[in-house]
Symmetry: C2
Subunit: 375 residues, 2 copies
Amino acid sequence: MATIRDVARAAGVSIATVSRVYADSPAVSEESTRRVLSAGARLDYWPNAAARSLTTSRTGALGVLLPDIHGEFFSEVIRGIDQAACTESFQVIVSGSHAHADALVSMGRSLRGRVDGLIVMAPDEACTPAIAQLARSFPIVLLNCSASCDSCDSISIANFEGAHTLVRHLLSLGHRRIAIILGPAGNVDAEDRRQGYRAALREAGIEPDSALEFAGDFSESSGYVAADALLRHASGVDAVFATNDCMAIGLLSALQDRGTHVPTDVALAGFDDIAVARYLNPPLTTVRVDAFQLGQRAVSLWLAHRQDRSVERGPVREVLPVRLVVRGSCGWRPSAGVGKADSLRERAVPARSRAGVVPFGAAGDQPLSSGMPAP
Amino acid sequence: MATIRDVARAAGVSIATVSRVYADSPAVSEESTRRVLSAGARLDYWPNAAARSLTTSRTGALGVLLPDIHGEFFSEVIRGIDQAACTESFQVIVSGSHAHADALVSMGRSLRGRVDGLIVMAPDEACTPAIAQLARSFPIVLLNCSASCDSCDSISIANFEGAHTLVRHLLSLGHRRIAIILGPAGNVDAEDRRQGYRAALREAGIEPDSALEFAGDFSESSGYVAADALLRHASGVDAVFATNDCMAIGLLSALQDRGTHVPTDVALAGFDDIAVARYLNPPLTTVRVDAFQLGQRAVSLWLAHRQDRSVERGPVREVLPVRLVVRGSCGWRPSAGVGKADSLRERAVPARSRAGVVPFGAAGDQPLSSGMPAP
DNA sequence: TTGTAAGCGTTATCAG
DNA sequence: CTGATAACGCTTACAA
């Protein structure tokens, strides 16, 4: 592999000049530039990133630490990060499977000298000290983390508001006994959604009944399992709020297996609006989280942070808004609806059947995949 | 940030000793090791990756170039890559959006000194020269690429076999006039699927009719649009093979909007078995591609390649097998089935309703998300 | 077992 | 505008 010296020799200039040319430094004569570029192209030369970052102490890369890169949600987050990083000419180094605090720290270590900063997602509260440790070595943006570290910017989802809005919607449809399937213990998203649920009930004059709060862990199977407990307890439950869509899907399967009809016998709602949600039968009413944007914003936050690193300022905490998506699983029908600013209703007859071309005319719906999809 | 010199000073040893300790070099006394480690921990030291890779000319990182990281398929590929790389202590640098040959080359350039090799996915034939160029700088594994470069190992999907098996299945159900929705022009996956389709027809004594081959580009909307052409041409089409699931979904929507019932009026099948497929109504018969494993195998191939770099050998070409997944969209019913070794049938009454706990007892079905799913 | 010193491929400083 | 040359932080012969 050709080095800067080879090019310098071939072009008949010094290595400094070659360096200047490849750094777009202004003070190089046209003649030199031409000769360097020509020699560089001939030798297939390009500056070595490691050497460059050793002297500049900038890497042009951004590390991303995730607990697990399973499922659509994470894939969208990564896509958002990559897209935003790419437009700023940053490379992205991803790493999944960092549920443990130890893994988090050792991963961060091995990234030293390799990235200019980190975007960390660690929904488990146990990771807080690990993150604090990492924050001493890198500028960090926390993505939807329970850990709130003093020096870190963070971005999170409007979990409370989303759950609150969703439950109010259920109430507006006349549901009274509303159960909830909880997320994993210690998960801050899950907890915030629970709080939103409780708050909405209280505002409606209903005291939250802990007997209506069922265990879950965000997995599809936990939703399936919850059905038994739910039906055992069935004394008049008229709606269920599963704190994420995966559990809603599991629950839906279980209910159908047991001959319980949704939404006639019981209404069902989820959270996240993953791609499958609108294909379920009935289509799932849920809360849309724009995971792509979440990733994008995390990068923006990080870039902003490093811009005014000098300026002394408190940590920025951004909250990504969410949106209620009303579909059929809660019994809502066009004629029966109650006006609601922040809700998005998909028409019973989707716009596509009229437009004839646009498959996802129903406002807010996105195709499963755009651009070049899976082969 | 502490350097090796700081640690050496604090531990009262030379930098060489510190280096040896952090490289797990054997010839260091216990006493020195202890002091170095203690000083290192106190100073929060860890070797700088850039400096290290500059001297060793190894980076411990693997670059991944994808055309677009949209959709479940790619997310699973990345997950497979990350998982496999992680167990071998390799970092993964991903980069999406490289449809153009130019972007591919410039991306590869900027990765120089940053990665030890590349996994490249570029389904467009126009990228072949760009890949050849990259291959001069890096050991490369081609992922499902049209470009077959002499010096590159590659892994791809059994597109031909999958399509062939699927169409045979359709034939076995009595379908005769079988249409196909094609993928993007120049996409090798799409083309291979078409060939598999044609071959199966010919073997059944049916001459492929190009009037039954409809344009598409793997996007959901192209599937939707194809419905019109299809119905216009409807002279007895009894089955449609959409060359990927996204198009099948679009097509299904369109057919339902037009009052055409699947599978009664027309059978429908897809390719990929993305997560949504089994939630459609009717559940989609399709061909399962294990994207996770595809990613894993790509890494294995790459690791093997770099192991015996010295050994002279031709390029390894691996093909990932696929599997027919029979659901309801083609009119198959348990009683009517014809025995078939490589087909996987999901029971009309899923196993879960019997097991009572396992949500996806139906063999081969996977949950949407395991582990820690989307919040 | 340990230390010294020569790189690794760049960039940055400072004269010319 | 250009060219020496000293870092950057680490590994690795080679010596001791």
